[in-house]
Every structure is written in C-alpha cells, then in structure tokens.
C-alpha cells in the first residue's frame, strides 16, 4: 500500500512539474523555484484539489470498485453499499447479522450500519430493562418472542465468534406475573387462551393460589393473575447488542459512526390502474455526516433500512415522508415518536426473595429483582397527559414517590420500606397509532424498509425482527414468520393492531 501511495504522489508531483515551465525536473529545485515562491505555498494549496481530481480520475478508471491508494479518513463509510441500515441499536445489528447470515454467496451484500452515538449513552437498547415475555394478545408478538427465546437459548450457535468467550446473556428465568382487576379479568382469560394456543407456557392463578404461591403479595383488588412459567424473564441487552455487533463485524458488515443528515432521492411519476398519478420515490444516496466535524460522505445504496428507533420518524421525514404539502400517502407521517420512561433502582431489605417474578400490577407499575442483594427495579408508564418532555434524559424522582411507590407498596407491603438508590431514563420508540412494530417497505418510497415503533418491546423481538427484515429483503417475502399484519398497510387503511393489556 505504501508503495502505491508513493507512486501516486510521484505521479501527482510530475503532473505539477509539467505545468510549471521554470522547474527543471528535480524535486528540490521544483519546490523552491522562483515561481512557486512567488505564488506562496502553491504546492500545498493545490494538493487537496489535485488529490480530489486524482481520486475522481481513479473512480472513472475503476468503476464499481472503491479501492483507492489515498486513504483520506478511515472513519468514513464506504462510498457504495448495497444496504445501509440507519441506527446501530440491537435492531439494526440484528438485521445486519441476519442479512449476512442469509446471503447466498460470500460478500454477496455489502451492509453498512450507521450509528450516531459511538458510546451508546442515549441508545434505547442499553437503557431498557431487557424483559422478555410471551404474554401478548397478538399471535405475531407471541411467536416473535418465542423465537427470540429460542435464539437466546442457542445464542452460541448463532453468534459465537471464533476464539472468543462463549456468550452469556445473563438470562433470568423469573417469569412475568400480570395482575388483573375485576374489569380486566375477562381480557386476561382470553389472552391466556390465545397464548396457550400459540405455544406459550402460561398459567392462570386465582387470588388464593396467588397468595399461596407468593405469600409476600397483597391480593386486594386482584381478580385474576397470569404467570409465565418458561421462557420469560429478563436479560442483559448490552451483551446481546455486542454479541450481534461482534458477529456481524466478523462477517464483514461495515460499522460507521456518524449522523444520517439526509437522503438524495429521485422520483418518477407513474399512473395507477384507475388513472391517478403517483410519485414513486427512490433513495439514491444516504448522506452520512461524521461526528464533530463538517465532513460528510454520500453513500450510494440500493436499499435503506430505517431502524433508528425513537428517531425513525425524523429519518422518515428526511426521505420526504410526512410532507404536508402533498395530498397522497406521502403526506402521512410515520407515527413514531420518542417517549421518555424512567427506571428506578431501589433497595428494600425485606423485599421478596428468589421467587420474585417480573411483576406487572393492574395499576401499570412494574417491579423486578436485580441481583440477590435485595435490590429491585421499578417504574411505570405515565398517563397520556403526564408525558415528560423528551429533549434530555433527566429523571424526575417525584414521579416515583407520587405515582410508582404507592402502587408498588400497595401490592407488595414490604416495599413500604425502601430507599431509591439510583434511576435512569430511556426512550421508547412509541408508535402513537397502535403501539406495535411497523415492519416492511414504504409503499411510495420503494427502497426504504422500516423496523421501528415497537413501543418498548423491541429488545425482546430483535432476533425475530432481524430475520424477518432479512427475509423481506433477500427472499422478497416473509419465509418463517408471517408478519404481514405488522406492515405499512394498516396505517393507511386505519386498521389498528392493538395489543390488549399493553405495558
């Protein structure tokens, strides 16, 4: 490589000298020639533009390859890629991994993952509680979560990298315990039947059985409880993210830290069967800006996957989705917005022990054990009017004392004696339409795929969603799990895929 660089440099200087009639060919003389001196540091002034010219020449000489003897900035993404994934959270890396796993020939697809935050300090993946459950009401969600469990169980078959330590995602098999009041009991029973039918291992408990199983619980106001026996609990999302990332990079995915600031699109007018004119857009370039600099790189690509989580609404806007001035489907924004959720860590010396499940109270508060030393995590989703502001990740401690604590202490009396040790906040990629994931291709921007809007259960569905998106891209349709119902169509038709008992 060094030799190449040297020849390129020589070529360049030769070019310069030929244009300069005073210099007589020898390097040293050339630099100090009177004309060059008169112009001031002419050589170095020209160097950059000459380099650029040389680079352009090289690109025309070697089309289809981005080999270059001059390495300008190693952090820049490659100039061409097949698939650009916007968002390097667990969803983005899962998609990248499955794309690589499913490719037919080696290096068949060139995948670039663009992540804004190299330290992952604000990433929703890392700030989540990491729960996984099958107690949903939609079969799609149940199956996705069941597959994720299978994936986590065999994670070393999927994600092990040669000569690396085996992956241990720290899965806690504690199960979820949902409590329902008189009003919710019927819905819970219906959900239970759906879950059993789809293969989840769940049991219903009456208040007496509940009291017998978990003596530390206060069953007042509980009409029915459902308890997951298997495949439910929580794990460490950071380990899962890193496992996906390591494996994907080892398989040849390009990692790039930068901000996607825009798309270059081209549009084409087409006419539908009924004679309406429709604009079809296509993304040609993704513009990636380097962090803390003005340098940017347009990445020429065939497909873009929007896995930007809470900010995927903004990314969609860059592609012209949600443009008010139009009157077709493009005027409809993607209904995903960030919502801030607090997680509190507290210590309760007399709290429940090893049998403490991931408890979800009928008031909406939740709590789970953290380690063995009497520490617990807890929180609650605020009401629609009480949504906190999302510009920063500051924690409102009053929310715990006013809303979460009374509910938890009412349910588990030993929590009356507790002390908050710390807290953090994270973003949900909240789907304001129906709080379920949006999977699939946009109908009018026909190379933009979405995997977003999971409203708090993205982590537990990531392995399944990654596989589904990879199937959609490489096979053209869903092969293993049919997730057509979670596609874009429902947004336009107005058919909500609502999850009953949402947490």
């Amino acid at each position: 490589m060094a030799a190449w660089r040297r020849t390129a440099f020589r070529l360049l200087t030769a070019c310069l000298f030929r244009r300069n009639p005073v210099s007589l060919g020898r390097c040293a003389r050339g630099f100090t020639s009177s004309k060059a001196l008169r112009k001031g540091n002419d050589f170095f002034k020209d160097l950059e533009s000459e380099m650029k010219k040389f680079h352009e020449k090289l690109v025309t000489a070697l089309p289809g390859s981005d080999w270059t003897p001059i390495h300008r900035n190693l952090n820049l993404p490659p100039e061409r890629a097949d698939i650009v994934i916007v968002g390097g959270g667990v969803m983005g890396w899962a998609i990248a991994y499955w794309l690589k796993k499913k490719e037919r020939i080696r290096d068949g697809v060139r995948v670039v993952v663009v992540e804004r935050d190299p330290t992952y300090t604000q990433a929703s993946t890392v700030l989540s509680v990491g729960g996984i459950r099958q107690q949903f009401s939609m079969p799609e969600n149940i199956h996705m979560s069941l597959f994720s469990c299978y994936f986590l169980r065999n994670i070393n078959e999927y994600l092990s990298v040669m000569n690396e330590d085996p992956i241990d995602v720290q899965f806690n098999h504690a199960g979820y315990l949902f409590l329902a009041s008189e009003n919710g009991a019927q819905v819970m029973e219906e959900n239970y039947h759906i879950q059993r039918r789809e293969g989840a291992s769940v049991v219903l408990l009456s208040p007496e059985q509940l009291k017998k199983k978990f003596p530390w619980i206060n069953t007042e106001g509980v009409a029915l409880a459902s308890y997951g026996l298997e495949n439910e609990g929580w794990f460490d999302p950071w380990i899962l993210l890193n496992a996906f990332r390591k494996k994907a990079i080892s398989m040849g995915v390009y990692q790039c830290f930068g901000d996607v600031t825009g798309f270059k699109t081209s549009s084409r007018e087409m006419v539908t069967a009924s004679g309406e004119k429709v604009d079809f857009k296509r993304i040609r370039h993704v513009i990636v800006q380097m962090p803390n600099s003005t340098e940017y790189q347009p990445v020429e690509c065939a497909l873009v996957v929007n896995a930007a989580g809470a900010w995927s609404g903004n990314v969609a806007q860059m592609a012209g989705i949600g443009d008010d001035s139009r009157d077709d489907i493009l005027s409809m924004p993607v209904p995903v917005e960030p919502r801030k959720r607090y997680v509190y860590v507290f210590h309760s010396p007399e709290g429940p022990g090893l049998d403490m499940p991931f408890l979800i109270d009928n008031s909406g508060a939740y709590a789970r054990r953290e380690g063995l030393g009497g520490n617990y995590l807890g929180g609650q989703s605020p009401t629609e009017d009480g949504e906190p502001e999302v510009s920063n990740l500051e924690v409102n401690y009053d929310f715990f004392t006013e809303n979460v604590w009374p509910n938890l202490a009412n349910r588990i009396p030993s929590f009356q004696n507790l002390k908050v040790k710390s807290a953090w906040a994270g973003y949900y990629d909240y789907n304001t339409f129906d709080q379920n994931g949006i999977l699939g291709i946009h109908p009018l921007v026909n190379n933009l795929y979405f995997a977003t809007g999971f409203s708090g259960h993205g982590i537990q569905q990531a392995p399944a969603v990654g596989r589904a998106i990879a199937e959609l891209i490489l096979d053209g349709n869903f092969q293993t799990l049919d997730l057509t119902n979670l596609g874009f169509k429902r947004l336009f038709v107005g058919e909500k895929m609502l999850e009953r008992n949402i947490v």
Binding site: N163, H173, A174, E230, N231, N242, R245, L354, E370
Partner: protein, 264 residues
C-alpha cells in the same frame, strides 16, 4: 541492478513478516466491541489457536472446516437428544423416557422395582422394557450424560419422577433448570453437582419444585455468593435440605453489605 533486486526482495520479505506478525499479535477488529458487564481480563490465547485464527481469517477452506466441524458437533448432540416421539406414541411416556436415558448412557428405575436398568457393554439394553409400559419411572440417573434442554422434553412428561440426578452433565444450564417446573408435583431429590454451566439465575427457578426434599449443589463454580444463594433457596423452599453449600462462605469474608454493593 542485482543489488537493487535483492533490496526489493528483502523489503518485500520484511513486509510479509511484519504483516504476519500483525495478524498474529493484533486483536481482531470485533474485539473492540467490549462488554461492560464482564470485567476486562487479559486474553490468554495460546499460540496454536492464534495460528488457527490467522489461517481462519486468511483461508476460506479453513473457515469452512472449522465452522463445519462445529455444526457437526451440534448436530450430533441434537440427534442424541431428539424427542422420542415414535416410541412415545407406541409404548407410552415411560418407555420413551427410559429409552432416551438408556441410550444416553444413564440408568433408570421403575416404580416398585429394586433393580436399575443400564445399558450393557455392547451398548444394548434388554427388550423387556415393554413390560413396564404401565409402570411409572421413579428414578433417573443421568450422571455425566450429554443431556440438553431439548432432551429434557423426554423427561418432563414423567408425572411421578421422584429422583433426578443430573450431576456432571456438561450441557445442563440455566435453561434446563427453568424447564424442570413440569416435574414440580413429584420431584423430591435433585442433584446438580458439577454442572459447570449452572448459575444462581438457574437455581432461582427451582422455587417451582414444591416437593423437593434434597438438593445437591456440590462443585458449582459459576455461582456467585453461594452462601447467600443457599439462604435464599432455603427461604423459598423451607422443607428442602441443601447439600454442598456452606453458610460459612458468607460468614468468612463476604458480609451482606459487600454483597449488596456487588449487586447494585
């Protein structure tokens, strides 16, 4: 001119050597993705694995062979632990479980019998299992067998299994323990000694086993704070006798405050 050629050759050689050494000593690019929860320890990779890694990165054939041998190992493990659906359909749950355990190399005892069934030296077991179609399996000894999560499906149907010995099974992990809840109505004795993959997160799931009287937990290296785990287990299962863990582990050095600190 010859000297120039020699110099060029020499520099080329030096470059090749340098690149090789870089590949041998440099960390792989994905090593940068560190995990925060695991303490950073210096990677001690032997020279042999490092050479293999170099070859693996360089040659597709080696990569293919390594991956293929791994998947072959997984496949054979999976085949050994397959669900005995056909046997179960024809002869019932008990015979299917017995076949499975005997094939793996374990032993089995039916209810009301004195004698244990084992595989003989030729790897065969008697054809008279058929007599035991109606008799439930009471004890299973799966010491040191390659039993996995998938294989446990054969055992979870046994409604009157009283004793289960899983000691020294290399593939028994937390996921397996989370599957044992199906035996909660009958299981009285369980041994997990020497299962290197079991951690305290798996032991926490044993609270489902209401009738458990005896639990053996010798030699479990992956349990942090064994004394505390023992106390918490006794709290949720008061009638169970836990062997293999001493309270003195707590009393010796780890005071409860320290444990709290570790877990916060």
């Amino acid at each position: 001119l010859i000297s120039v050629k020699l110099i060029v050759k020499f520099t080329f050689l030096v470059q090749v050597c340098r690149q090789a050494s870089v590949h041998l000593w440099q960390r792989a690019p994905w090593r940068d993705c560190t995990s925060a929860t695991r303490p950073d320890r210096a990677p001690r990779i032997s020279f042999r694995t490092r050479v293999l890694q170099l070859l693996y990165n360089r040659f597709y054939d080696i990569e293919y062979l390594v991956n293929r041998s791994q998947s072959l190992r997984n496949w054979s493990l999976r085949r050994k632990n397959a669900f005995h659906g056909y046997t179960r359909e024809r002869y019932g749950d008990n015979v299917a479980a017995a076949c499975y355990i005997l094939n793996l190399g374990g032993g089995i005892r039916f209810s009301g019998e004195r004698e244990w069934f084992w595989k003989n030296q030729l790897g065969k077991f008697g054809g008279d299992l058929n007599h035991f179609r109606e008799i439930p399996v009471e004890e299973v000894d799966a010491k040191g067998t390659p039993i996995t999560y998938d294989g446990l499906n054969n055992l979870t149907l046994l409604s009157s299994l009283r004793t289960l010995d899983l000691s020294n099974c290399p593939h028994v992990d937390d996921w397996c323990l989370s599957r044992l809840h199906t035996l909660s109505e009958s299981l009285e004795e369980l041994s997990l000694s020497g299962c290197k993959k079991v951690s305290d997160k798996g032991l926490a799931t044993l609270h489902h086993l209401k009738k458990l009287k005896k639990l053996e937990l010798f030699d479990l290296p992956h349990i942090s704070n064994p004394g505390l785990v023992c106390i918490l287990l006794e709290e949720v299962m008061p009638e169970c006798e836990i062997l293999g863990i001493d309270y003195s582990d707590v009393l010796k050095g780890n005071s409860l405050e320290e444990i709290n600190k570790q877990h916060s």
